[in-house]
């Protein structure tokens, strides 16, 4: 087992934090969208670099990937990837309350990604007494071929990735996407410290 793997307690603690963060984020989102948002309990996996590359290269019809960097205190930083399949993208403009001719498909994807990432990570950061800043979200060029290339060209080497499967159901249709949080080595050590601190408080 690599030293970057979380212990069972740490893993449980992290899952709990993510569940709460995702719950609060979707509550905020529902109020913003002024519609009923039903969130399935997010399915969380921590995967190592090799495993993730393999999974992603298996995904046949990935349509788009939006990447957004985040950084907080105590060296907690990383990159969030939102991965969309072709069938997920149809009604994003509806979801956001835009008129379809107001913005391009690319911009819709970037907007929804930024909202999902920042609402979620803001709540997550607050729970661990941290505060996040964000880079501008970026649509990866022709994600189909370049996702694994992008992962190899990251500015930091990352060893652990958290894969959070988000499934929102908004009134009469469902909206799916995968959020992948890539976290570099040094940040993992810091997150583990934070998790241990939280565990010690119980």
């Amino acid at each position: 087992m690599s030293e970057f793997h979380l212990t069972e307690d740490q893993q449980d603690c992290l899952q709990e934090l993510i569940n709460i963060a995702m719950g609060q984020a979707s509550d905020q989102l529902a109020r913003y969208l002024d519609t009923f948002v039903y969130l399935k309990v997010p399915n969380i996996e921590s995967v190592d670099a090799k495993e993730l590359m393999h999974t992603l290269s298996q995904q046949k019809n990935t349509m788009a990937v939006v990447s957004q960097g985040f950084f907080g205190y105590e060296g907690i930083r990383g990159e969030a990837l939102l991965v969309y399949q072709e069938e997920d993208s149809g009604r994003i403009a509806d979801l956001l309350g835009y008129e379809p001719d107001e913005l391009s498909q690319d911009e819709q994807l970037i907007d929804i990604s930024s909202i999902l990432t920042t609402t979620f990570l803001n709540v997550f950061a607050r729970q661990i007494d941290n505060q996040m800043s964000y880079n501008a979200p970026k649509l990866l060029p022709s994600a189909k071929d370049n996702l694994s290339e992008h992962l190899q060209q990251m500015p930091f080497s990352w060893d652990l990735a958290l894969k959070v499967n988000i499934n929102y159901q908004v009134t009469d249709y469902s909206f799916n996407c995968n959020m992948i949080l890539l976290i570099p080595e040094t940040a993992i050590t810091n997150i583990k410290d934070v998790l241990d601190r939280i565990l010690a408080e119980f």
């Binding site: 905020q28 913003y32 835009y98 907007d111 930024s114 909202i115 920042t118 609402t119 964000y134 501008a136």
Partner: protein, 337 residues
């Protein structure tokens, strides 16, 4: 010399003074930044703007401060941007707008007027939620000038497109080169098989080209290749793919075309070339071509076999005396001719 201890001193008197100093420093930084700063209240009225915006918009402060951002900057897409602002206020999260999706939001002049082709400054905009002690949230808009990035990125894209174009073109004749032509045939073959559409191929070769080179020199040969290519191009439809297969050999892919259609076109090419007088250094040249035509049938298992079919027909046209068309069904076409 700046005394940091004095700045962070906590005695009440110096604190007021130092807050004043800090305020001055902050406002001077804000005014000297090469980034536009705009602060709005929750009703989207402009509360603060920095010098960058003042000089770039050429607006008067008294007429701008307190105004709605949408009346101060009527070029803004109001409905979409209001929605974005409300996400910042309500979700307490930053929001972004990149030049890659929207070249600019604010119509501001840029500092590279001569070397760029856009009238307005390309911008990356950031919308940040601001919370203060007093009630009501604010939105801070940061406007970065990315005209340079946009300019170089556009140049790069243009260059890449040009390179891609060059890699497909034959330098001498300006028609497609062998590699691109063959890739196209591979695609057309697959399309035709998938959709059950017709596909025909014409291979053609200049008659006695070696003699032409020997008698008049290679520059003459080059001129003939250029003229013949241009003449054939003028007889084709947009969807036909015309390429230089080898030295004096050319090939035409004819999608959704029957054998008789392809033979008709080949005959027109043959006639036009024979009827066109080419001159080189005041000498009239007699240039003719031989053409082989084939249509994809159920037999061929790959596109290479279609090339072989047309090649065989071309060989036959040569054997029968040149300056003529032969097809895979050559005996019939000979009777018609």
């Amino acid at each position: 010399m700046l005394d940091f201890n004095a700045l962070i001193s906590t005695t009440p008197d110096t604190l007021t003074f130092n807050e004043q100093v800090l305020k001055q420093i902050n406002s001077q930084i804000a005014n000297q930044l090469n980034t536009g700063i705009l602060v709005l209240d929750a009703d989207f009225n402009i509360v603060i703007w920095n010098r960058f915006l003042q000089v770039h918009t050429d607006k008067v402060a008294e007429n701008t401060l307190g105004q709605s951002i949408f009346s101060a900057f009527p070029e803004l897409p109001q409905r979409w941007l209001s929605r974005k602002f409300s996400s910042v206020l309500q979700l307490n999260t930053p929001s972004f707008c990149s030049w890659e999706q929207r070249h600019h939001l604010f119509e501001l002049p840029h500092t590279r007027p001569i070397t760029t082709d856009s009238e307005f400054m390309a911008q990356n905009c950031t919308f940040l939620p601001i919370e203060t002690d007093c009630k009501g949230k604010h939105i801070c808009i940061l406007i970065e000038d990315v005209t340079d990035v946009c300019h170089y990125q556009t140049q790069l894209q243009k260059t890449l497109a040009k390179l891609a174009q060059i890699s497909r073109i034959d330098g001498l004749t300006q028609i497609y080169n062998r590699r691109h032509w063959q890739e196209s045939l591979e695609q057309e073959y697959a399309k035709s098989r998938r959709h059950g559409k017709q596909l025909s191929l014409v291979m053609l070769d200049l008659d006695h080209f070696k003699l032409l080179n020997d008698n008049y020199g290679h520059q003459c040969g080059d001129m003939v290749l250029i003229e013949v290519s241009a003449l054939i191009s003028s007889l084709l439809r947009v969807e036909d793919v015309f390429g230089r297969y080898g030295g004096e050999e050319f090939a035409i892919i004819l999608p959704e075309t029957s054998l008789s259609g392809a033979i008709g076109l080949a005959q027109r090419i043959c006639n036009s070339i024979a009827a066109t007088a080419l001159t080189y250094k005041d000498q009239t040249l007699k240039v003719t071509v031989s053409l082989g035509v084939a249509q994809l049938s159920a037999e061929e298992v790959n596109y290479e076999e279609l090339i072989t079919q047309s090649d065989n027909a071309l060989y036959q046209a040569k054997a029968l005396g040149r300056n003529q068309v032969c097809s895979t069904a050559c005996s019939t076409s000979l009777v018609i001719d």
